[in-house]
Structure formats: C-alpha cells, structure tokens
Symmetry: C2
Subunit: 210 residues, 2 copies
C-alpha cells in the first residue's frame, strides 16, 4: 500500500517506506496498482481522487481535539505527531503550531518562500528577484536581492524563535530542513505527516479486526 499527503504544490508519497515527492501535475499522471491511502488539502483535485477506485481518503478517520477552526488535515497530522513542542510545516505556506501535553494551543500561517516571491513581484518589477536562501542574516543587506531575502527569511526565523523559546521545534515540508538549520532545538522529520497516516491506517485496520 501507499500513503500519500497531497498539498497545493506537491504530493508526498510513502512507497515501501521510502519518501517520494512529486509535483501535483506529475502525481496526477501516475497510476497505482496498490491501494493509496491519502489526505488532500488541494480543493482543485479532491474530486478527481474521490472517483479513483483504489484511492482511500483517510481524513474522516483522523480526529483532533482543538479550539482552532479551519485547520487543514495535513497540519492536523503534523500536530498529531508531536506531544510537546512547536510544529512547523514549511511548504507552499509555513504553518506553525504549538503543542503542549498533547493539546493543540493554536497556531499561525506564514507565506512559504515561493509565496514571498509572489508578494514581492506583485509590488514592482524591481522586486522580481528570487529569494536567496544563502543570504547572511547577521549582515545588514546592501542590495535588493539581499534585502528581500534577509527580510523574508529573518522575519520567519524571528517569529518561530519567539514562539518556541527553548522548546523543541519539529520541522517538515519542502523548506523544513533549510529552516531547521537556523535553530539548535530543531528536529527535521520529513515523514511527520506520513507517519500519522500510517498510524491511522494501522489503528483502523486493528479496529476492523482485519
């Protein structure tokens, strides 16, 4: 069987305990002989998946106790993987959630790095430059490319640091490993969401005595 977390930009697939990342376009071209147990936050393709007969949506079987309203199922899964600490899923958006004794305290949503590029490009052609992940955060910028890169990355770093204090920070998502590099108390786990899908499946299977 295959476990799959389908986002707005990419799909993350767990096939024989190995992670595969595909763009949504690539993913839709794939055909699978095995059963695919998935979650999907991408409203554009949800209906396409519902009609595939070997596709099985795990979302209805995932419960999560929180006062937060409107939490995406991928974000819920990342939080379920952590008992205590900060949960950062850095993809198209960067979601940051706070877990305390298995309880979800709330969270917030930053734009992902690509969305920062979109923001800058929307202001002026002069700001149509890609963010440079190698920018130094301890030197005041001296040109436009440094200026947008420093501002986007340092502001993300500072708000996560402000939330985390000395607590552990669990990173996942496409830019998770990169952002984890800024923190001593960071753990990067690219399987954070997929592990919860697998666990949900195991519990479901056990409950059905199958």
């Amino acid at each position: 069987m295959i476990f799959c977390d389908i986002g707005n930009t990419n799909a993350h697939l767990l096939i024989k305990e190995r992670l595969h990342v595909k763009s949504i376009k690539e993913f839709l071209k794939l055909s699978f002989d095995e059963k695919v147990y998935y979650i999907c936050v991408n409203d554009n393709i949800k209906s396409l998946l519902h009609v595939r007969k070997n596709f099985f949506d795990l979302e209805p079987y995932i419960t999560f106790d929180t006062k937060y309203r409107g939490m995406g199922i991928d974000r819920i899964c990342a939080c379920k993987a952590v008992n205590d600490g900060i949960v950062v899923d850095a993809g198209s958006a960067i979601t940051v959630d706070i877990m305390k004794n298995k309880k979800h305290m709330g969270g917030y949503i930053l734009p992902g790095l690509t969305a920062y590029n979109t923001a800058y490009s929307s202001i002026s052609t002069r700001l149509q430059l890609d963010i440079d992940k190698d920018v130094k955060l301890d030197k005041i910028p001296k040109n436009t490319k440094e200026a947008i890169s420093y501002a986007a990355i340092k502001s993300i770093k500072l708000i996560i640091k402000n939330s985390a204090k000395n607590r552990k920070i669990y990173f996942s998502g496409g830019d998770g490993e990169y952002l984890a590099g800024f923190f001593k108390n960071a753990i990067y786990d690219k399987m954070l969401v997929l592990k919860v899908l697998q666990k949900t499946f195991d519990v479901l299977k056990a409950s059905q005595g199958d």
Copy 2:
C-alpha cells in the same frame, strides 16, 4: 508649487503645506497649474510625467552616500530625513533602513500588508482572506483569519524590533501610523519624504541664486 512622491500604489502630494494622498489612477487624472516637483519610483508612469511641461523630476538633484545598490529614490529621501535611527516606510513594500551618524548602514524590504494578502491568496483559496489589523499579537490564533493576520503583522513587528533595539524608529507611509503603534520608541511622520523634497528644492533654488 506642489511637491509629490509617486509610489507604486499611491501619490503623496504636498499642496500648500497640506498632505493629499491619491491613487495613481486618480493622480494621473489631475491637472496642475502650478509647478510640480516630484520623485517617482513607479516605472510604469515615469515616461508620462517626463513629458508634462510643469513637472520637474527632483531625483537628479538628490545625493545620498551609501554602499547599498538599487535603493529607490523615495527610500533615499526617507533616510535623508533621519540622522540616527531606524527608518520604516510602510507602503506597497515596507522598507526598513538603518541610519547611524547620518550614515546609511543598509536595510531590507518586507512585503507591504496588501502584498502579504497577495502571497496568501496565491497559495490557496482557503487563505484568500484580508489581514485583520486588529488581531491580538499576545494570543495564539484560533482560526485562519487570525492565523494569517498574526503571522504577517507579528513577523513584521519582530524584525523591526530586532533591528531597532532601543533606537528611535521613524515611520512613514500608508501603514506607518498603524505599525508605529507597536513601538514605544516610534515617531510617525507622514511628511518624512516630502520634507526632503521641499528641502532639496530650497537648496537648489538657493544655489541658483533665484
């Protein structure tokens, strides 16, 4: 005479010592009997202004010593108005610059609040919500609107605070007054740029013995 700072979204006009703010569309419809001394960072309309015979571009007369490359003329003017401190011009983009003993140390560029909205909307229709300026920054968000508002505003606040430490922060621009509200050491001066235009004109006039 009229002094005018033309940005990517709005034009700020100083007419008889009073400030008027017009959208670029509104501004282009206006006709002026008096001479208009202006600066313009909006590349889309620069050529339209050059052919207006009572319009006079002050940019060539504004000098600024910095190692920073690619600084917009509006940002240069805001910095020229400050000898020591942090200079924040919060418009379509939020530029943050550091001045020390009349010397420009460098700076960085955050998206403006509208550009944050554009960034969120580009990710998913679920994030197509306007940022709520009244969001509380001391409470962890419990829904999507709070989550994007908190993240955008708090990350802006934290990076400015990190740059400023205890130095004075001079705010201008459309969201300048709002952002100044987060800092004890803030000064809001909506005329920061226009005052430098007026001063440039005065020096120019004096040098021409006119």
